[in-house]
């Protein structure tokens, strides 16, 4: 049973089509991420779901109720904002009390619910603090608690972790997942951080310029990107562009670049002459010693190290191959210097081939 259904949602601001004919569904208990670069329409979509913007076209259904043009307070949603939006003139208790009071719960029940919400976000005892007395992470958790305490049908989160430092952000990601699993909340999560989307989502929608580019599970988005944009958006990816030169059996194709490098990859449905992009994930490159060279015959290349960045547990290399630069992570045991000549192997089955869009 689908909880949220969005059909043909469109919204324009002046001359900009911010949201262009978007369709998607979210099932009960699922986390759906709206992911994309700045200006892709993810925040506008979320605001339409929340009721802060009215769509120009399309419909939004929550549990088969048409909420497309309802005011925010009529929708039964809980929202978490990027900068938390805690009310500074109220204590933590009052912040949580506000929504429950509107729903006319009994005083005893309200106290119960607030206590429970605070313990879920592990901030019991903070009732009398003011938001300015809390750290960023604590404020974020109270913002979550405030949205949860009213037990909404669906939760909308607008880049809730963007304002936190990197380490805290990662911690909070896992806390969110735990919370979501424990309570079985349905959530729509807007983020520009693809790693975050990968970690927390059941389904990801990639948006670009107001349009849906791809919808899929994190695994599908990563391994089966529909086009170059999606391939390049997830994880760290290097690209080599070329043309299909030859097709061998078993969907093995040979791609030729303009500087005459031949790469083998696996992709069905292509013809000789098709322009393609070869996406090379950062963990695809293998450095070669003598043994590997003898085993494989395809996709062995010679290149130069143009940059080596030491990151402690790994070294991030940029390798120049003809006119192309490929990025790779390798463990810190393998140390090359800039200008070193290296041999690398790109396993054909790990390369992601996407055809050029028409």
């Amino acid at each position: 049973m689908a909880v949220l259904k969005v059909e043909g949602l469109s919204k324009r601001f002046g001359s900009v089509q911010a949201v262009d004919n978007i369709y998607f569904e979210v099932k009960d208990g699922q986390v759906l991420s709206l992911l994309g670069p700045s200006g892709c329409g993810k925040t506008t979509t979320l605001r339409c779901l929340a009721g802060f913007e009215m769509p120009d076209k399309g419909k939004i259904f929550l549990d088969n109720r048409d909420i497309s043009y309802l005011t925010p307070e009529q929708r039964g949603i809980g929202m978490v904002f990027q900068n938390y939006a805690l009310w500074p003139h109220m204590t933590v208790y009052k912040n949580l009390f506000f929504g429950l009071q509107i729903r006319k719960f009994e005083k005893g029940e309200i106290e119960e619910k607030i206590k429970r919400a605070l313990s879920i976000v592990r901030l019991s005892g903070y009732e009398d603090r003011y938001p300015r007395q809390l750290s960023g992470g604590q404020q974020q958790r109270i913002a979550m608690a405030r949205a949860l305490v009213i037990e909404p049908d669906i939760m909308l989160l607008d880049e809730p972790l963007s304002n936190l430092d990197a380490q805290l952000r990662e911690e909070m990601r896992f806390e969110f997942i735990e919370l979501q699993r424990k309570l079985g909340i349905t959530a729509i999560y807007v983020t520009h951080d693809q790693a975050e989307a990968m970690v927390i989502s059941d389904k990801i929608i990639i948006l670009n310029q107001g349009r849906v580019v791809q919808i899929g599970t994190p695994r599908e988005i990563y391994s089966l990107p529909q086009n170059r944009f999606v391939a390049g958006f997830i994880a760290v990816t290097s690209f080599i562009e070329g043309v299909v030169n030859d097709i061998e059996k078993g969907d093995m194709i040979v791609i030729k670049t303009e500087d005459n490098i031949l790469i083998h990859g696996i992709r069905s449905g292509l013809q000789i002459g098709d322009k393609v992009s070869v996406a090379i994930r950062i963990n695809t490159v293998r450095f070669i010693n003598g043994d590997t060279e003898k085993k494989e015959s395809k996709n062995i290349f010679e290149g130069n190290i143009v940059q080596a960045s030491y990151l402690g547990d790994i070294i991030d290399y940029r390798i120049r191959l003809g006119k192309w630069t490929i990025r790779t992570d390798s463990n810190a045991q393998i140390t090359y210097q800039v200008a070193d000549r290296v041999h690398i192997y790109l396993p054909p089955e790990e390369l992601i081939i996407t055809p050029e869009e028409a």
Binding site: F52, G78, P88, M90, F98, G99, I102, I150
Partner: protein
């Protein structure tokens, strides 16, 4: 203490002393005019070259407050004028806030094209943008036609128009300083627009709105030019009695000046207290 520490602490003491001296000079410059007025208000006889009055007494005060009647002093009972000024100021504040709070909220929060917002704000600025005498002269002629000249209503209207110049700008800027997410959060949680405004926005806007009200009040108490043109001959506010007295009777004028200052000083003290308490719950970034 080491030699370095000692020289550092000496520098600190020197700097602090200079700061204190400068602060005292600043206070003196600030209060000197009032100080002089204070002395004049209790001077019965004061001729040059004496530094201080030869004879002091509260006669002018008593005369101004209508307690005694001494025709030789040339002072009259200004209490009626005082109450009139106060009454007008209060009415002006109430009406101005009733207009400027919704106006400021609308200009700040509602989705109006920027150009229109700019035009409206400039319109509210215009009464002060021109030389005051020609503006009020014109107004006097207009009011004459509709019979508002020389009436309290006319004066109240003038004070409101001038007051709105400040009030609308201050309230707009106050509401601008409150992040829209705060109201949105309230609405997402189930509050109607009105509830979100009254429980979230209004309390946070209070310091700015109070400042706006104080401004309008003081502006109305001190308003002279417009009141002069529109109020004469029947409406006499305190600034006008001050004007009449200042040419001939310095002691009397000084008494009136201090009477005018009293509401302002009281307001300042009240606002200090109020603002301090409110800012503890200030808006976060």
């Amino acid at each position: 203490m080491s030699k370095e520490e000692k020289s550092k602490s000496n520098k600190f003491i020197l700097r602090k002393t200079i700061e204190i001296i400068l602060f005292i000079i600043f206070l003196f410059l600030l209060f000197a005019p009032i100080f002089s007025t204070l002395i004049w208000s209790v001077a019965i006889r004061w001729y040059w070259p004496n530094t201080f009055p030869q004879e002091i007494g509260f006669d002018y005060w008593l005369q101004a407050l209508g307690i005694i009647k001494n025709l030789t002093l040339g002072a009259v009972n200004v209490l009626p004028a005082f109450w009139l000024s106060l009454g007008i100021a209060i009415v002006v504040v109430i009406i101005s806030m009733l207009i400027s709070i919704p106006a400021g909220y609308a200009l700040s929060k509602l989705k109006i094209p920027h150009m229109i917002k700019g035009i409206i704000l400039i319109l509210f600025l215009l009464p002060r943008a021109f030389p005051q005498q020609p503006v009020f002269l014109n107004l006097m002629l207009l009011f004459n036609k509709v019979g508002l000249n020389g009436t309290v209503t006319g004066v109240v209207l003038v004070h409101i128009v001038v007051g709105l110049v400040y009030a609308v700008w201050i309230t707009t800027s106050t509401f601008n300083s409150i992040p829209p997410e705060l109201e949105e959060a309230a609405r997402s949680i189930g509050a109607s627009r009105l509830k979100a405004f009254s429980r979230i926005t209004l309390p946070l806007a209070a310091p700015g709105l109070v400042a706006s009200a104080v401004f309008v009040f003081l502006q109305s108490m001190f308003e002279f030019t417009g009141t002069f043109f529109v109020g004469l001959p029947f409406v006499t506010t305190l600034p006008m009695t001050l004007y009449s007295a200042s040419g001939s009777n310095i002691q009397f004028a000084s008494v009136i000046a201090i009477l005018l200052l009293i509401p302002s000083i009281i307001f300042m003290i009240l606002i200090q207290k109020f603002l301090k308490a409110e800012y503890i719950g200030g808006v976060s970034g």
